[in-house]
């Protein structure tokens, strides 16, 4: 089974985020980028599938942040090919629409029975990217996937629904899967293996071309959320705290 894994870099929340007042976007001067966590899960699931069923894993990412190291790390983990999409301004942040256009253009260049990507990202909580790639390629999409199995030639994706429900969805033909979590936590690869990959692996480049978004929604404002209500601290002696707590619980109808 040949798998393409789409990975992107997202703002690292370990740094304080600043908003650029002139563009209404995150101020990229102070931004630190990191690989999207769920894309790491997508890579892990792809590697597990390769280990079980053979085939190839190709990792495709957009040139932003420290992508070379991420790609060498992916190669050290077992990816067969690593590709970065290069072009002007890609490190200035991309909408999910534009990202999907780039990914769809690139993904088709490498063998793919399945295309895996993280089902969400900190800058794409709606989880548009994977579905938009599928739409552009005319392939079915299943999101919130926690397991992918290949049985008798058919691919079965386990999709998680709210309320603890799961569905096993059988897929005919090629598909894009949005991975919520791999079956196992993403593997650790020792630094010496990454260093070895830096010497032996070639990162392939793919020109971004003119793939445009179908629709770009203008962003007219961005603001840091203001906390509306704060937690109420109950203070006093143990007896006082217990009395206040009991009163509160009764008032809210939580105890009779």
């Amino acid at each position: 089974m040949d798998i393409v894994v789409l990975c992107k870099f997202v703002p690292d929340l370990v740094e304080d985020l600043e908003i650029d007042a002139s563009t209404h976007l995150l101020d990229r001067n102070f931004l630190r980028l990191m690989p999207n966590e769920l894309d790491d899960h997508a890579l892990e699931e792809a590697l597990l599938l390769k280990e079980r069923h053979g085939g190839t894993v190709t990792v495709v990412t957009v040139d932003a942040g420290d992508v070379d190291e991420a790609l060498y790390t992916a190669a050290a983990k077992g990816a067969d090919r690593v590709v970065k999409i290069v072009g002007e301004g890609l490190d200035q942040g991309l909408s999910s629409q534009r990202l999907a256009a780039l990914f769809a253009q690139a993904a088709g260049e490498w063998p793919h029975d399945l295309i895996l990507t993280g089902t969400q990202a900190v800058d794409d909580l709606d989880g548009f990217a994977g579905a938009l790639v599928a739409a552009r390629l005319g392939m079915p999409y299943v999101g919130y996937v926690t397991k992918v199995a290949s049985e008798n030639g058919a691919v079965v994706a386990r999709k998680e629904y709210p309320g603890g429900l799961n569905a096993d969805i059988e897929i005919v033909g090629q598909a894009v899967l949005g991975i919520q979590s791999a079956e196992k936590p993403p593997r650790y690869v020792v630094t010496s293996k990454v260093m070895a990959a830096m010497k032996s692996v070639t990162i392939e480049e793919f020109e971004a071309g003119d793939a445009q978004a179908d629709l770009e929604l203008p962003i007219t404002g961005m603001a840091v959320p203001q906390s509306a209500a704060h937690a109420e601290m109950i203070v006093g002696s143990v007896t006082e705290v217990a009395e206040k707590l009991a009163k509160l619980l009764r008032e809210r109808g939580l105890v009779a």
Partner: protein
């Protein structure tokens, strides 16, 4: 990269340290396994590990994950009658094999991943490494901005820089340097984790990466010697960094302050009686025969009103706080496997010795022992303080 047989693995062990050949002399006496703080819970404590390798059962060894209980405390290596470098050789090399094979507890993976991405195991912003100096009364020059030679480059370390409890110790040391009029500077955002504990989890590649960054950053500046409050940083800077080109003397504050003893002593005043015991950190004592046992005690005895008492396990027999060798990042795993915390044994020993204060000299120890005081139900009965905190109290009240 990974090896397949016991013999291939032993060959790696033999080449991991200069005296690696000594492993061939193992008598199977079992002293190592007996002294190991977690030996009781390991499927292959050192003696059994060597026996398994001799019986060519490397597969069985790799199947077990209890090597991750090893806290690299050098207890086994220090008692071995034939001086096998067990900690740095056999055990650290086995951890490397486990890492390469992908057998790594999740919590350790997080710490190693953080170290690689952010240069600190806590996963904090590298830019905020010197934030502890903000709104602080003592001026702490960051060398990149200072642009003047200093006498002392102070390597602050991960926990000293970021951990809220250990930051108090860091500020205490800054106050002492200030009153002693030491011309010092820190690397600030240019500093990375010293990498010592990462190395003892078997991640030597990560150690090299971090150590090269630190060495390059340090050698940009003019200074005479390196000071650190972290025994792990001390150990790495002293014994591992020289091969990467670092050529300056390295001192733990216990050494540095005893060298400035004649100036420090007159500043220490009697702030009331207190009975104190001292926990020897593994990496000041046993590790690499660092043998810094008397300097910390000299500093403590110099505090007027301080009565120093000893725990039953002291100096080379000290019991690890459980933080070394990756233990700092494996608390969940260790509890699950062993249902024991060495810090709790130590707290009980300190109380049995009649101590009111447990004095420490390693950044792992203050938070670990404070937790153990609470988890043994002894809150209010024993305080945990770094030696520099006790000195600052004696100087400033």
């Amino acid at each position: 990269m990974s090896v397949a047989t016991s013999y291939e693995f032993l060959d790696k062990v033999i080449h991991a340290t200069p005296d690696g050949e000594e492993i061939r002399k193992c008598l199977q006496c079992g002293t190592c396994s007996g002294v190991c703080p977690y030996g009781f819970a390991m499927e292959y404590p050192p003696r059994s590990l060597i026996a398994a390798l001799r019986a060519d059962d490397f597969h069985g060894v790799l199947e077990s994950d209890t090597i991750w209980l090893c806290v690299s405390c050098f207890a086994c290596a220090s008692v071995c009658p034939v001086k096998i470098p067990l900690t740095r050789g056999l055990l650290a090399t086995l951890k490397t094999e486990m890492l390469v094979g992908g057998s790594i507890p999740q919590e350790l993976q997080t710490a190693l991943g953080n170290s690689r991405r952010y240069g600190n195991s806590l996963g904090e912003s590298p830019r905020k490494r010197a934030d502890w100096t903000k709104d602080f009364t003592v001026p702490v020059p960051v060398l990149a901005a200072h642009k003047k030679p200093v006498d002392v480059l102070w390597f602050v370390g991960d926990y000293g820089s970021y951990h809220p409890r250990v930051q108090q110790v860091t500020r205490a040391l800054a106050k002492l340097l200030f009153v002693l009029d030491v011309k010092f500077g820190i690397l600030g955002a240019e500093e990375n984790s010293d990498g010592d504990t990462q190395a003892f989890t078997g991640e030597w590649g990560l150690f090299e990466l971090l150590a090269r960054k630190n060495t390059q950053a340090m050698l940009k500046y003019q200074f005479a010697e390196i000071l650190t409050a972290d025994p792990h940083a001390f150990n790495a800077l002293k014994h591992e960094y020289p091969r990467l080109g670092l050529d300056r003397p390295v001192k733990h504050y216990a050494q540095f302050l005893t060298e400035h003893f004649e100036r420090l002593r007159p500043l220490l005043q009697n702030r009331g009686p207190q009975r104190v015991t001292y926990h020897d950190p593994c990496y000041l004592g046993r590790a690499n025969d660092n043998n810094l046992y008397e300097e910390p005690r000299q500093l403590l005895r110099a505090i007027p009103g301080l009565d120093l008492v000893e725990m039953s396990h002291n100096r080379a027999l000290s019991i690890c706080c459980g933080g070394g060798g990756g233990g700092m990042w494996l608390d969940g795993f260790s509890w699950e496997k062993a249902h024991a915390r060495t810090t709790e044994w130590r707290v009980k020993e300190a109380l049995a010795a009649g101590a009111q204060v447990l004095a420490v000299a390693c950044p792992y120890e203050t938070p670990r022992f404070e937790d153990a005081v609470k988890s043994t139900g002894n809150e209010g009965k024993l305080k945990v303080k770094d030696i520099v905190e006790l000195l600052v109290e004696a100087v400033f009240g």
